[in-house]
């Protein structure tokens, strides 16, 4: 009882010193100088590169087609090329994904290739060209049985029945990733990329 007050004060002092140290976080950043955001990796650019299987050396049948939005969501409008293909051909196509906000550019498609077991691209031509442009995925992952990935493709425009070129339409490209659910041939609930290329068939 006698030491009660001193004891109390001692504990109280200790506890409040602890609270003061724990409770007062140091944070002295200057609000007038906003930080330069070093954003996390993002896809800014998707490029299709392809050539005709019939004659790979024929540079007139080479194409490169870009969908690009380097300033992120919002801001200026994205730059979208039209995918121009000749009908009656089979094209070997590669999809390249880049992050142009990084220096040097980051090649996201390489990282997806590394994680192909949990990623898949889906290519959907719209109704106006669905019977004129067939897209086949030619690369597969390490799952058993192997499932398609979609970085390497074949565009097949040989079915010319029922129309005379040119034909116009759209090709939708979706990248799904499978987090916590097994990869399947159906799109996942998590979309990393969802873009549409206008298509012209000559």
């Amino acid at each position: 009882m006698k030491n009660y007050s001193t004891r109390t004060l001692k504990y109280l002092g200790l506890a409040s010193a602890f609270l003061l140290i724990y409770g007062c976080r140091k944070n002295d950043a200057d609000p007038t100088i906003p930080p330069i955001t070093n954003t996390q990796e993002q896809i800014t650019t998707a490029i299709f590169n392809g050539f005709s299987e019939l004659n790979p050396a024929d540079s007139s049948k080479h194409f490169s087609c870009t969908w690009e939005d380097t300033d992120g969501a919002g801001g200026s409008l994205p730059q979208i090329d039209t995918l121009k293909l000749d009908s009656g051909l089979r094209y070997t196509v590669m999809l390249l994904l880049l992050d142009k906000t990084k220096t040097p550019w980051d090649t996201i498609s390489h990282e997806i290739e590394e994680r192909k077991n949990t990623h898949q691209f889906f290519y959907t031509p719209d109704n106006s060209i669905v019977d004129k442009l067939a897209v086949y995925i030619t690369d597969f992952d390490d799952n058993n049985p192997p499932l398609p990935v979609g970085l390497q493709l074949t565009f097949d425009t040989r079915n010319q029945a029922g129309y005379t070129p040119p034909a116009l339409g759209n090709l939708r490209v979706v990248l799904s990733h499978y987090d916590g659910i097994p990869k399947s041939t159906a799109p996942s609930p998590d979309t990393d990329l969802d873009i549409v290329f206008p298509v012209q068939l000559h």
Binding site: G74, I108, I195
Partner: protein
């Protein structure tokens, strides 16, 4: 009136002993009496700071202290049911001191200035208010702070998943209401719907809801109302003690434990202190059918306070830390509108795991600390001055899922958003009573706020510095059955936002706002049972930082939001009338309000969607219109027997755009609830038994703007909750235990005001156990 005044004046009477014998020891006789009747009080406890023992008065109300040395003494007298009496006195040998004690039920505390009606003068506003005391709070403790607020008529919740919630008063929330915690206006990033209040629910001892605009007293942003929270008053009895309180919840297997230690040293009776620590941990919440993955949370809070009296001065200091990690439902984190449509079409969330306590990305890390200091100087029974200063630091870090193709880069360990908000507030107020009928409060204050952003994503709100000042005056007139009040306040705020443009150079944007607000109200007691009141008040708020500057994708909402830096301040006019009728059997209260908000800020859908590499997003722009929110609140109770009370609450809210009469979006649905309360004094061991059952019907919100939201509001639902408990007396304290079941029928339902209603049902049945065990470490006996 005079007697009341006298009694509260703490008046010692000096009487010389009738036969002053010369004694070898120095002694003093103290007589303790009731202030009004003059009858002696037996077993009142008396302490002198220079004397080691506590004395109790005898049947004549007399206690004698001997072996004293002459000089100044601090005298403290306590008696059950009476206000503690404290005073500095100068004692001379053989003196007799009479202390007149004021009974609690009859008078207010001596240190509180009271008006003619006996109400504390600080309690000025005549507006509609509800109060929850500690005993009720104890019985309501549940998932979070929201569970304490929900039973108040007119309050609903805005939820983000099962555990994150914030209050909505009469359809308004976030920056349109104010939360005061121990006098400090809570400053977090409250503009965000998914940013819940950073307050430890175990510290709340008293909760007060003031509905309607209260900008005159509490400043801008009080358009919808004010929620005042206060923690436990300091211990006045000498000794040391405290309590341990806890909750266990079955649904998310939540455990919460809080311990409070408080004391007042024997040698220093004018000093009181307390400290409290809280730990809470919860896993995933569950609907009747499935687990809502990644909705666990953990929380570690602490606070300490101390109060010191010296003559007419009281110095109070408090500090607190809130620290929480809150999981955000994984399935609600969606990439684009296709994902959203897919998630909405699914009957259950597309990402589900077995129950776990583990919290994965996405999650929030919230830190909130408050330090406050109050200096109160009571000049006399008519005037008191208060100087109140506080500092708050709020850090909110939000962790995203990161990119799916590079999980090793550590992107998920770094916050996507990191916001540090510092707030300094200071105010000087003067409470005064000019005459018997007139009382009032006036004051002036300053505040400073700074916000620093960081994180791996471009910030939603910019860095900013804001400064404001204000002055106000409220006067209240009370005479007989009539009371009236009027107040005026002027505010000036200036703020500068700092952000970077595309080429990384710094842009400054300066804005200033000024506004004056007014309040007028009156109350008239028609009879001893019935009173009516009416009030008109105005309020305002500056546009919040996200409304001015946000520009980006709103995570989880699959919407692109664009701010407008030219928005004007919102201003409102709130009219309210009400009636209160109370007899031994009945209690009826009804009110009607009409809240017009001019330049109401809201998100307007833009015709031009935003095209990104993740897909096309609907785009919304912050814009202004005039809005009208009007409604009726009813509360009735009937004492069926002395043990059984039947209660009913209903509220109806109609919110629309003032000119087009189009409904406003995200307005809580109308609801009605009925409850049956059974109370019994109990046996010797189990006391204060109670059993409550409550049914709540929430209607379908049929008033909503068509074609703006992804899904129409969900259908109506009915919930049944029960609650029962008892107390076990232990010495002068009592252990209390209560048991509750929420959603007893285990209904699957969705609520319109849950932002994750697109993805998941609400939580299912929840069994709750609450307990509180008080303890005394050191008590002083005579």
């Amino acid at each position: 009136m005079h007697r009341l005044l006298l009694c509260c004046l703490v008046l010692p009477v000096w009487i010389f002993a009738q036969n002053p014998k010369v004694k070898p020891t120095f002694s003093v006789r103290i007589i303790v009496t009731d202030s009004l009747s003059g009858l002696p009080l037996e077993k009142a406890s008396l302490r002198l700071n220079r004397h080691k023992d506590i004395h109790l008065t005898d049947a004549q109300g007399v206690a004698v202290f001997d072996s004293l040395t002459s000089g100044r003494q601090f005298i403290q007298c306590t008696f059950v049911g009476y206000h503690a009496h404290e005073q500095f006195i100068r004692i001379s040998p053989g003196q007799t001191i009479i202390i007149r004690m004021c009974e609690e039920s009859l008078h207010l505390h001596a240190f509180e200035l009271t008006d003619q009606t006996g109400k504390p003068m600080t309690d000025l506003t005549l507006q509609n208010k509800s109060i929850l005391e500690f005993s009720r709070i104890q019985k309501r403790m549940g998932q979070n702070l929201g569970d304490l607020l929900k039973p108040l008529n007119g309050v609903t919740l805005l939820n983000t998943g099962p555990t994150l919630s914030k209050p909505v008063i009469r359809g308004l929330h976030s920056n349109r209401i104010i939360m005061l915690n121990n006098g400090v206006k809570q400053e977090g990033q409250q503009w965000g719907a998914e940013h819940g209040p950073e307050i430890d629910p175990f510290t709340i001892n008293r909760l007060e809801l003031i509905r309607g605009a209260s900008s005159v007293e509490f400043g801008p942003e009080a358009l919808g109302g004010v929620i005042k929270l206060s923690s436990r008053p300091f211990r006045t009895k000498a000794g040391m003690g405290g309590f341990v309180t806890g909750t266990l919840l079955s649904n998310n297997r939540q455990g919460g434990l809080s311990a409070l230690l408080e004391g007042s040293p024997l040698k220093l009776p004018s000093f009181r202190w307390n400290m409290q620590g809280t730990i809470r941990k919860a896993g995933d919440a569950q609907t009747p059918g499935y687990v809502i993955s990644n909705t666990g949370f953990e929380e570690l809070d602490g606070n300490a306070g101390a109060e010191m009296n010296y003559r007419k001065l009281t110095l109070t200091g408090r500090m607190s830390v809130f620290n929480a990690r809150l999981g955000i439902m994984r399935a609600a984190h969606i990439g684009n509108t296709t994902d959203l449509l897919r998630a909405m079409q699914a009957s259950q969330p597309l990402y589900m795991k077995p129950f776990t306590y583990a919290i994965a990305n996405p999650y929030q890390l919230v830190w909130h600390e408050v330090q406050s200091l109050q200096l109160r100087y009571v000049l006399n029974s008519r005037h008191a001055l208060n100087l109140f200063t506080s500092r708050q630091l709020n850090e909110r870090q939000e962790f995203d899922l990161g990119v799916s193709w590079n999980t090793s880069s550590g992107a998920t360990d770094k916050p996507a958003y990191d916001l540090v908000l510092k707030t300094y507030q200071s105010e000087l107020t003067w409470e005064h009573r000019i005459s018997k009928s007139w009382s009032g409060k006036s004051g002036a204050g300053l505040s400073y706020q700074s916000n620093v952003t960081g994180g791996t994503q471009s910030p939603i709100i910019p860095n900013f510095i804001a400064q404001s000042m204000h002055a106000f005056l409220i006067e209240k007139y009370a005479r007989g059955r009539f009371q009236a009040e009027a107040g005026i306040r002027a505010d000036y705020r200036e703020q500068t936002a700092y952000f970077r443009n595309k080429s990384n150079s710094i842009i400054r944007d300066y804005r200033s706002f000024q506004s004056s607000t007014l309040i007028a109200g009156s109350r008239y007691q028609l009879s001893s049972q019935t009173g009516i009141y009416a009030s008109a008040s105005s309020g305002w708020r500056p546009p919040s930082m996200n409304e001015l500057y946000s520009h980006g994708l709103h995570n989880g909402a699959a919407a692109f939001e664009i701010g407008d830096s030219n928005l004007l301040r919102e201003k409102n006019l709130n009219l309210e009338i009400g009636i209160k009728h109370q007899t031994n059997k009945w209690f009826i209260e009804g009110s009607f309000y009409r809240n017009m908000i001019y330049d109401y800020i809201y998100l307007y859908p833009s015709l031009q969607p935003t095209i990104t590499l993740r897909g096309t997003f609907p785009t919304f722009q912050f814009t202004q219109t005039d809005a009208l929110l009007q409604g009726i609140e009813l509360h009735g109770a009937y004492n069926v027997t002395s043990h059984l009370i039947f209660g009913i609450k209903a509220n109806y809210l109609h919110a629309s755009e003032l000119h087009t009469r189009e409904p406003l979006i995200f307005i809580p649905a109308n609801r009605i609830s009925g409850d049956l309360n059974y109370h019994h004094a109990g046996t010797k061991v189990f006391q204060n038994l109670f059993f409550e059952t409550e049914g709540i019907y929430v209607a379908h919100q049929f008033r909503y703007p068509v074609g703006v939201d992804y899904l129409p509001p969900p259908s109506a639902y009915f919930l049944l909750n029960v609650n029962a408990g008892f107390e076990i007396p232990v010495k002068q304290d009592a252990i209390s235990v209560s048991f509750g079941i929420q959603n007893l029928l285990n209904r699957s339902y969705r609520d319109y005001m849950n932002r994750f209603r697109y993805f998941t049902d609400e939580t299912g049945i929840n069994f709750m156990l609450r307990f509180m065990i008080p303890f005394q470490i050191l008590t002083v006996k005579n």
